[in-house]
């Protein structure tokens, strides 16, 4: 009896795999886009600024201003593409997006500094992407801090000797790629798994074979397990492949416990599969299933903390994110990759995904029986 139970489940899972892999295009689409995407997005998605075009408007003729500007010449963050000579040159450069910012150094800059007075530098930024503008401003502010400290030390300044000594834990050089790559892994896997599972029942509904499946000796639980297996297996294999790329190619070290990472991955896949099967069981056509999957994927990716911190969201939206399995999985990924976490620190992330998975799978099984047309 037991063996028959599992052989039936196994036969259904096998059929599901064949349905996915029978067609050459489906095979390709499961493997290549995620790999291509991790490569492209991995290099593209960074908040770090690099070679940002800027212009200098130096109204001062002295030596000190040239020293000030030379910091920017040596910087990898900025690239001076133009030295301008008059006020009216500023607006077109910024309007046309030729430069992100213009540094406007006041006349008598050098004289004022040499007399021990404060000198002014105006930074005019393009605020069309205010985050980029603010990041650039922060870079300039810290360059200016260095310049000021050096200047004060050389010219015997008075005042309290309080300096900030900063250390960044887990990601010492503050590379945003370390933060974003695990997020890309989670989002890509979510997309693949949700589409695989969301279409599995809808395809049969559209073709009319689902009714036949329901009148076989298999019970809904068996159908559920058989339909869930392909998504989980494909997810595990693909994640492993992407993890290897992240570690080997992007050189992001795994500091924590890999077993904890895989437990998190497994629970995440169960939760995603459950959600996909619910969408699939509700949908009557494949189009509805794809659109339904999409209606879930987009908010799930946006509200996961992938690109923007959950802490910045309003409280009501923050509550909503607790329903999102990707939220927990991203904390696990970052925890294991960067913070060196193990099972104990991540326990609070494991059980919510398990609950989401079990509830969704049970609901999908119920829908199999009760949504018939």
């Amino acid at each position: 009896m037991k063996t028959q139970y599992f052989s039936q489940v196994f036969a259904l899972a096998l059929k599901e795999f064949l349905a996915l892999f029978r067609d050459k295009r489906s095979r390709l689409i499961l493997v290549f886009p995620p790999l291509l995407q991790i490569l492209i997005f991995g290099f593209a998605a960074t908040y770090d600024l690099d070679n940002v075009p800027i212009a200098i408007y130096n109204q001062d003729q002295g030596l000190v201003s040239r020293e000030f500007v030379s910091q920017f010449e040596g910087s990898e963050t900025f690239e001076i593409i133009e030295h301008i000579k008059k006020d009216s040159d500023i607006a077109p450069l910024i309007d046309n997006k030729d430069v992100l910012l213009v540094l406007n150094i006041e006349p008598q800059f050098s004289d004022k500094l040499q007399q021990g007075k404060s000198a002014k530098v105006q930074v005019i930024l393009d605020g069309r992407n205010s985050n980029t503008a603010m990041t650039a401003m922060n870079y300039i502010a810290s360059m200016n801090l260095d310049f000021n400290q050096k200047w004060s030390a050389q010219h015997g300044a008075t005042g309290p000797k309080v300096a900030l000594e900063v250390r960044n834990w887990y990601n010492e050089n503050l590379q945003s790629r370390w933060f974003i790559l695990p997020g890309i892994l989670g989002s890509l896997i979510l997309v693949v798994i949700l589409l695989v599972t969301a279409l599995s029942v809808a395809r049969e509904r559209e073709a009319g074979t689902f009714d036949q499946l329901l009148v076989t000796p298999m019970n809904p639980t068996q159908i559920l397990i058989g339909k869930a297996i392909p998504g989980i297996v494909i997810g595990l294999l693909e994640s492993t492949l992407i993890l290897i790329i992240i570690v080997k190619l992007f050189q992001i070290p795994i500091q924590g416990n890999i077993a904890a990472l895989y437990l998190g991955l497994f629970l995440f896949l169960i939760a995603a599969t459950g959600i996909g099967l619910v969408i699939s069981a509700i949908s009557l056509t494949q189009q509805q299933a794809v659109l339904g999957a999409f209606l879930f994927i987009v908010p799930a990716v946006v509200l996961s903390g992938f690109t923007t911190p959950i802490a910045n969201m309003p409280d009501s939206v923050q509550l909503l994110t607790y329903l999102n399995p990707l939220r927990y999985f991203l904390i696990i990924l970052r925890g294991v990759f960067l913070e060196g976490n193990g099972f104990t620190l991540l326990f609070s992330q494991f059980w919510p995904m398990a609950i989401i998975g079990v509830v969704c799978l049970a609901f999908a099984g119920w829908l199999f029986k009760h949504r018939m047309y």
Binding site: D23, L49, I124, N148, E165, R167, Q286, A293, P309
Partner: protein, 378 residues
């Protein structure tokens, strides 16, 4: 005779249009995507997503409390950016950081005040959780701000005139309050339109192939051009409808200024919509199966529009090779146009050069679609 020919063509096209319209109306999912999705997404991005940090939890570890450490703690307490909690030892604070209760630590050693009064070096040590590097940079910027103003206050109280050598003055054009919503909302509109255009149309032709109704359409006198037009027009209308809803929400609900001309925006949106629709059509012609079409459309539309369009991540900072790829993403041009039209105004060099790029894409795509779509069976 010629009149007859055109009227027959018109009739065929009208018939095709009517069929597509009915399909859209009878399957509420495509209407949901066109009208519910923009509203949901805009609300999510307008309210949910923000890069502006407020109330950052920081731990202040004071090993020996006195007047001076108190005045520094007060400065953090008064800042709107921080929500400080206090610890008596660095170990407690570090544990809180590990448990993700706080994002950073300001550490004042026991000899801080003593050294400060003796005129010796009295460093303030800062530890920040660097996992989210963008957030860490922002936090650091705010800490520097609090520290600077405390330093000025502290020196003035002691009669020392503290003058900084170089003072930076920040002028942010187009978005002086650095409100991230103002640039996220126009970006989201581009993402929404990409998805509506590509995803919806990708499904429609693939569906005909999969259900076998494509063969039925082929034996009709309908020409391929008429069939494609019949598929495109309804979705174009749907897409533009959702564009108007999005712009209305952006302006009247979220208060994003529309500094450029509305009609220029309609024109560039129509151009972008056509490009998106053709991409969707091309995907569906090539894939012929709804699973492949759906996967390809998401892989080719949503994530690239989200990550490679310059909507969140600065394109100039990407490696050169990746920058080359972004030229193939239509959303890149549309994001630049929308952010400029909303926040800066009718800056013609930006609008025209990007419109030209979209036009080139449109022509290439139209050519590809017409050469790929033959009335042939496999």
């Amino acid at each position: 005779m010629a009149v007859n020919k055109t009227s027959a063509r018109n009739m065929r096209l009208m018939g095709m249009l009517r069929k597509e319209m009915w399909q859209i109306i009878r399957d509420p999912s495509s209407i949901a995507i066109a009208f519910v999705m923009p509203v949901v997404l805009l609300f999510m991005f307008g309210y949910g997503v923000s890069l502006d940090a407020k109330n950052i939890p920081v731990g202040i570890a004071v090993e020996k409390a006195d007047m001076m450490t108190q005045s520094l703690s007060d400065s953090f307490q008064q800042s709107e950016f921080f929500k400080p909690s206090y610890y008596h030892s660095i170990q407690e604070a570090q544990q809180a950081l590990e448990e993700r209760k706080i994002d950073g630590i300001v550490w004042l050693r026991s000899n801080f005040s003593e050294n400060l009064q003796a005129g010796k070096q009295a460093p303030i040590e800062i530890i920040i959780n660097g996992v989210d590097s963008n957030q860490a940079n922002i936090t650091m910027g705010y800490i520097q701000g609090v520290w600077q103003s405390w330093l000025t206050l502290f020196s003035n109280a002691r009669g020392i005139q503290l003058s900084l050598p170089v003072v930076l003055e920040q002028r942010v054009w187009f978005n002086s309050a650095l409100n991230s919503r103002l640039f996220l909302v126009p970006g989201v509109i581009a993402v929404i339109m990409t998805m509506i255009g590509s995803l919806l149309t990708a499904m429609v032709v693939a569906r005909e192939w999969e259900r076998g109704t494509m063969e039925a359409l082929m034996v009709t006198p309908l020409s391929m051009k008429e069939m494609l037009a019949g598929k495109l027009i309804p979705y174009f209308i749907l897409g533009m409808g959702s564009m108007f809803i999005s712009v209305a929400l952006a302006v009247w609900w979220f208060g994003v200024p529309l500094r450029g001309s509305f009609w220029v925006m309609v024109l560039v949106s129509a151009l972008f919509m056509m490009v998106s629709l053709l991409i969707g059509l091309l995907i569906s012609i090539v894939s012929k199966n709804q699973f492949v079409a759906g996967q390809t459309a998401i892989a080719a539309s949503f994530l690239p529009a989200f990550l490679l369009s310059g909507f969140l991540f600065d394109i100039n900072s990407m490696p050169t090779f990746i920058q080359g790829i972004t030229y193939l993403i239509p959303a890149r041009y549309f994001v630049a146009q929308l952010q400029t039209l909303f926040l800066a105004g009718n800056v013609w060099p930006v609008i025209l050069s990007n419109a030209f790029a979209l036009l080139v894409m449109l022509i290439v795509l139209a050519f590809l679609v017409s050469s790929k779509s033959r009335k042939t069976l496999e």
